[in-house]
Symmetry: C2
Subunit: 430 residues, 2 copies
């Protein structure tokens, strides 16, 4: 069997909240003495997602309307067996990949975008604001807003706005309004532009603009595409589906591997399986793959830090390279983040998840091999996970172990072909 599918009826009815089962309590978000970050949250987020952010309920209902849109965009997603890759590697391991790339926006981001748009609308919002770097998250939120009847304003890092015109086209197709950040729309943006009209922008600046915009408009909320507890909660639909899919073939993963930037794809896929590990029902190794150039888990410190550059978010306990760390401009833009979702960070700190680093050349090599043997062209982010899976499959070849390796396949690389081209042409430096 190559493809393990679920019927629409098997779409999960509840998200899984790992906060209920953590081995130690999650250190709460906090603010500095002079800060108002937490006080400001109700102006930025609907009460529904703030409830979810704090919740320790194990199971949280997926609203019927959200499930309906999940189905409309093609959920449940398929779990594929990578037989071509296995054959090439000549490994006794079985490699599975859970395909979020088949979402219309090409990544897992839509899972939480739909939920956040739904709750915002329920709370009376007419518009959502957000920031985007490479454009994956901005595309997902734009589509979610289009499907649910909301306006959407995306602050896109100026340099990406210029370098990635097609991501902008995708957002325009979904009727998202896309502004290069810094922009004239906000006070913060105007201030920066006054100093440097050609400022390249940064994710930190874009976050600040999107937050300011929502803060000053009673009919708008702000949204975030990763890191926060409620975002990871929404993404557990991935792991919950995968559990059902493994059950269908009477198998379990021995290794689960995903890439980590903010941690939402990894967390969403891993947490339902982690529940079984914590209860002793599953013996599984959890591997989080990150760029060697942005080694949050492997070289960062576990401490309180801001989620953004400007210090507008509450302080969160996480692995961090420092909120002023500027990651090099790697092709896997989605993994260029100084911090890590507090939930994923805690599991790493408890020794339940292990970080692994992958460099640029290795990841594109892995991506090309995957394309060659399976056909699907993975996003550079996803390639990190594939590289680690290949390493593990090669170990199995040596030991003869028939392990099941599950890759959470976060997205396709069709809008990231420049990176592959640089790799093929030998232009990558590391």
């Amino acid at each position: 069997m190559y493809k393990i599918t679920l019927s629409e009826k098997e779409t999960p009815k509840k998200w899984y909240n790992i906060a209920a089962d953590l081995p130690v309590e999650l250190p709460p978000s906090t603010q500095t003495e002079e800060g108002h970050q937490i006080d400001n949250l109700p102006k930025l987020f609907s009460k529904y997602v703030l409830q979810q952010e704090m919740s320790t309920e194990r199971w949280i209902d997926i609203p019927k309307e959200v499930r309906k849109v999940y189905k409309q965009i093609g959920r449940p997603s398929a779990l594929f067996r990578a037989t071509g890759l296995e054959k090439y590697l000549d490994t006794p391991a079985k490699i599975y990949y859970k395909r979020e790339d088949q979402s219309p926006v090409g990544s897992h981001k839509l899972n939480t975008a739909i939920a956040q748009a739904y709750y915002a609308k329920k709370a009376g919002a007419e518009r959502l604001t957000t920031e985007t770097g490479a454009g994956q998250w901005g595309s997902a939120l734009s589509l979610a807003c289009s499907l649910l009847g909301l306006d959407c304003t995306v602050y896109m890092v100026n340099v990406s706005f210029k370098q990635k015109p097609y991501r902008k086209t995708v957002m325009h197709l979904y009727d998202g309004e896309v502004l290069p950040s810094p922009s004239n729309r906000t006070e913060f943006g105007r201030k920066i532009l006054a100093e440097d009209p050609n400022h390249p922008g940064s994710l930190g600046i874009a976050i600040s603009e999107a937050m300011e915009d929502a803060f000053n408009d009673d009919s708008a909320f702000y949204t975030l595409g990763s890191v926060l507890n409620h975002v990871l909660l929404h993404q557990t639909v991935i792991g919950l589906e995968a559990q059902k899919q493994f059950a269908k073939i009477d198998e379990k993963p021995d290794i689960l591997v995903g890439c980590v930037g903010g941690g939402s794809n990894f967390g969403g896929a891993a947490f339902p399986f982690m529940k079984d590990k914590l209860s002793g029902d599953l013996d599984c190794q959890f591997l989080a793959a990150e760029p060697a150039s942005c080694p949050t888990l492997t070289q960062g410190e576990y401490k309180y830090d801001y989620g953004d550059t400007a210090g507008l978010t509450p302080l969160m306990k996480m692995y961090t390279l420092g909120h002023e760390f500027v990651p090099p401009s790697v092709h896997a833009g989605g993994l260029r983040y100084h911090g890590m979702a507090p939930l994923v960070a805690l599991l790493v700190n408890q020794g339940l998840v292990e970080g692994r680093t992958v460099n640029q050349t290795e990841l594109f090599q892995a991506g090309k091999l995957f394309a060659n043997t399976e056909g699907v062209i993975p996003a550079p982010e996803t390639c990190h996970a594939i590289k680690v899976a290949i390493d593990e499959a090669n170990k199995c070849k040596k030991t003869g172990e028939e392990k099941n390796i599950m890759i959470t396949f976060s997205g396709h690389g069709l809008l990231d072909l420049q990176g592959y081209d640089d790799f093929i042409e030998g232009h990558l430096t590391q």
Copy 2:
């Protein structure tokens, strides 16, 4: 229900050959008195596909190895209901779309690429040659060769080679060799380059080069991505799956609409349903959507003509704008063809299929609406079919008829975003 799926076991075991059921005999391909086009075919194609080209057997076995690769790349493909679009149009019609865009190469082309690579290998070939315009077909053949262990040489029209670098990257990822055509690799190419070193190339020239290359190498065969009978035969896997999917929901299409360039996506989807129409078991309207700027079916003549510009192919009876007709450079590059598959042409001539034209602005409008309401961004080619489906759904709104409209959704538009951008920015001329 939003998505009607089939299990792998339900992958068709035989292709359907409509030559067995045509209301009149298919006029055979022929050659001019001085020509050797037909005599040359055995040097260009494996005996297996030549047998299929001439066959009047109704059902032709899909080899087990081909079915295996079909499953590996995700077949059967899903049939989706476009509820978001229906709601927007406020139509009583039900709109379904059969998703070839979810193939790893993003289009239906892989269905025949896999089969052609399999038969070539079976006949002892080590390499395949072909031409490509926009790059869809070249990508599909490159992947098929990679999966089946063959080398692949793609002659890509020079102007596309320069303008569409990412299609080239995709072919490189699949280990295809991509040459800008005219090239120095062939005598014909060298001759043209001697006259004009910066010649922009054309599909006709690229066909000539790919044919010459295969002709002079005993270990290579030439392949074509559309038009020929055996290509359309392989594509019937689309319609055969769709039939099973409609049967699952106890429905039948009242209207089947597809875009036509060479005719392989349309023919592949339509022929199994046409069989039922010819036997009186189905009352269905078949609509073939073509660009207003390349109106083969609606303004071409039904006569014998060459399939290529240079006159290297046999003469085929088809609708044609003349083999020297140069279609304007429209964004739907896959539909820029002066002729039409003889099988589709015959059905049009018999009044069983109706041609419809769509202009560029209309098609991108339809594509944007589809993206807005369903999420999926259609290829410009596919947008032709969507536009016609929308027209029919609007008619149903007036009459109140609850028709089932099936779109054969040939591919996604993620590598064609420039066209959408031109549309959004108001740069399209028609």
